[in-house]
Amino acid sequence: MKPLDIIRFAGRAATGYPTRTLLMLLAMAIGVGSVVILSALGEGARRYVIGEFSALGTNLLIVLPGRSETVGGPPPLLGITPRDMTIGDAAALTASSAIRYVAPISVGAAPVSYRALERETTVLGSTADLFPIRQLEMAQGRFLPPGDPERGSAVCVLGHKLKQELFGSAPALGETVRIGDYRYRIIGILSQKGQSVGLDMSDIVVVPVASAQTLFNNPALFRIMIEARDRDAISRAREAVIRIIRDRHEGEDDITVITQDAVLATFDRIFAALTLTVAGIAAISLAVAGILIMNVMLIAVSQRKAEVGLLKAIGTPAGRITTLFMAESAILSLIGAVLGLLIATLAIWILARIFPQFPIAAPLWALAAAVGVALGTGLIFGVLPARRAARLDPVQALARR
């Protein structure tokens, strides 16, 4: 019997009972479809988060004050230390050749007012280097001017949303706002780049770091953001930061340096695990579909006893009959899997239309794995019925009734 004959035989058996065959295909399609859709959702979430992090800038290092001895725990997010991390520390970091930009950051909350309007806003103190590091864009005017970071001038840059809240559509450039007890001249408006992880960059006001320290009466920095010269320089930059700060802090290691790569890798792992789990749970339904195929194939074998008897009577070996039935269940699960893929592709396409900003896409491995598992289930659950068919005694089978 040629392979084509086997396929034709299986096809005719399947079309003989259209309802039953359709239902089996449906079961398989639901399983494969849900595995593919769910892993596509997981993959989309992963890409979304990683995209968000990359929007923060590339080759980033973040220096936090304070260090916790416990390894693997979260870094001290509110790391306030007896010895402050200062603007001088940040300025000293520029000495390293591995470091391209250094932006000291001081953060706080203060009311920002213009005439009668007032809004409690996050105030970010930084330097001109923040602009390239965070990959900001200006809508109007310019960013903080470069110069000695120790000297604060009374200028500020407003986030897009804050400008809308305080000024509406009126021009804001050149106007003066009051932040806390000080007055600042507006020299620029950030473009509407939206919010990135943790901080809404549109509802914010940026002032020179020295001005922020005066405003909050606190010489300590909250973070230092550093951009390494390139990807290979990240580890050198990290060592340089630790060494320079240790020298300045009388030999004490009281800072934590986290690299963006490390954070990204962690998120990558978490999301990969999550996607695998979700897809795995959905794959249970493939097993259920496999049980169904086995059940129906068993019924088919007992219904087609006469046919099998005839095949045996004309000299078909047992192995060939096993192949026949195995092929039938394999073909059924394959067609089911293809149907499932079609359904999933359609669903993903619709989802992508509804949520265009969410990068949903089925990873290739998920497609391959879903079809592979479907085929595997069909074969595994096809073994029992096929062997039962092969073991039939031709005389008994033919003599039924």
Binding site: T19, R20, L23, L26, A27, I30, G31, S34, L38, G66, R67, S68, E69, T70, G73, P74, P76, L78, G79, I80, T81, P82, D84, S106, V107, G108, A109, A110, P111, R119, E120, T122, V123, L124, G180, Q195, L199, D200, D203, A212, F216, N218, A220, F222, E252, D254, V278, I281, A282, I284, S285, A287, V288, A289, I291, L292, N295, V296, L298, I299
Partner: protein
């Protein structure tokens, strides 16, 4: 046909096709198992998280400086132009219904004793920690009730810090250096373990005013307010809000009540449990398709039997009931088996992996069983209706 006959007929026909019935049961059983197991894990995580949060007591209201209008980390925890002060705390303490307050400042510093140094979390707190946060001291006592602005330099160590710095000797009465100041150890806290990744034992407690001086801060990071049992959190929050607005002139602080936080957290976790259960339900759906398939085949095979039943006077409704009953019994038994397996695996998980808490609530079990029966019913309707519509003469002739 009596109900008893109906049941007997269903069971007989199921028993006559043992392997087939067993496989169908297995399909539904696997589905129910995954639903029960996943919701058990979800519910377990739910309880675990709520326990973690309520171990500090549930009658808490937290006041933070700065007004957060958007979600996310407020910069006000670090710096703010309108700090919270001890005077604010005292004003809150005088409110009716308030039984205690704790002012909090948190930072990170090196703690050293002799040659041993450990960098750890430094919590500047008021004396009422034991009462407000429900934490006890293992040995010694907690910080005394000094005048908050000029508290003496005493410290209480977290159990891990005490172990690391003092090993086996008693730390009571010894002096440690925290930052660059000397503190006398007057107590060691009971081990409290981790809370959501934050190790509570790896911390030292010093008076708030001293922590503010050490970290060069103008204001408090948080005031935790404990109120009397039975009072509504909202009314306390309103009172605190009013008194602080009177003092500050405007609402430049954020009040979080434990109730609200728990409610939000609870609903998030509920959605999560539901979502995970929904994932498991995909298998259940496939199991339902399985029942549909098998019942379709059964009706087809038993057409002569149906013809006979109709010929001796069974009406359409009874035929319908017969097949529906069969489907529901199949699904019901499968559901029960799945329920037992799921709960069993959940129990095993809890026994062998205590870190993964599970909990099988009985109403979920009931829902799962009902769900299985409903699926059987739905899957049975089409084949049963088909069977009921068969013409008796035609049906008998198929033989």
């Amino acid at each position: 046909m009596l109900l008893g006959d109906l049941v007997r007929l269903s069971i007989n026909s199921l028993l006559s096709q043992r392997l087939r019935s067993l496989l169908t049961l297995l399909g539904i059983g696997v589905g129910i198992t995954s639903v029960v197991l996943l919701t058990s894990i979800g519910e377990g995580v739910h309880r675990f998280t709520l326990d973690e949060f309520t171990q500090f007591g549930s009658n808490l209201v937290a006041v933070n400086p700065g007004r957060t209008t958007t979600a996310g980390v407020s910069g006000a925890l670090i710096n703010t132009v309108r700090p919270l002060t001890f005077a604010d705390e005292e004003a809150i303490k005088r409110l009716p219904g308030v039984t205690g307050t704790v002012s909090v400042v948190q930072g990170n510093a090196a703690v050293s004793f002799g040659k041993r140094i450990r960098r750890t979390t430094v919590l500047g707190t008021g004396p009422a920690v034991g009462e407000v946060w429900r934490m006890g001291v293992a040995i010694g006592r907690f910080l005394p009730d000094d005048e908050p602005r000029s508290a003496r330099s005493f410290t209480v160590l977290g159990s891990k810090v005490a172990d690391e710095l003092f090993r086996d000797s008693s730390p009571l009465g010894r002096f440690v250096r925290i930052g660059d100041e000397r503190y006398r150890v007057i107590g060691v806290m009971e081990s409290k373990g981790q809370m959501l990744g934050f190790d509570l034992d790896d911390a030292v407690y010093i008076p708030t005013s001293r922590a503010m001086a050490m970290f060069n801060l103008e204001g408090l990071m948080e005031i935790d307010v404990l109120y009397r049992e039975g009072l509504a959190s909202r009314s306390i929050a309103e009172r605190v809000k009013k008194v602080l607005i009177d003092r500050h002139g405007s609402e430049d602080f954020t009040i979080t009540t434990q109730d609200e936080m728990l409610k939000v957290l609870g609903s998030v976790l509920d959605i999560l449990t539901l979502a995970v259960g929904g994932l498991g339900a995909i298998s259940l759906l496939v199991g339902g398709v399985g029942i549909l398939t098998i019942m379709t085949i059964a009706v087809h095979e038993r057409t002569p039997e149906i013809g006979l039943l109709r010929a001796i006077g069974a009406d359409r409704r009874q035929i319908m009931l017969l097949f529906l009953g069969e489907a529901v019994v199949l699904a019901g038994i499968g559901g029960l088996a799945g329920l037992l397996t799921g709960a069993g695996i959940a129990w095993l998980l809890t026994t062998f992996l205590p870190a993964l808490p599970t909990h099988t609530p009985w109403q979920y079990a009931l829902y799962a069983e009902l769900l299985a029966a409903t699926i059987g019913l739905l899957a049975g309707i089409l084949p049963a209706a088909h069977a009921a519509r068969l013409h008796p003469v035609e049906a008998l002739r198929t033989e």
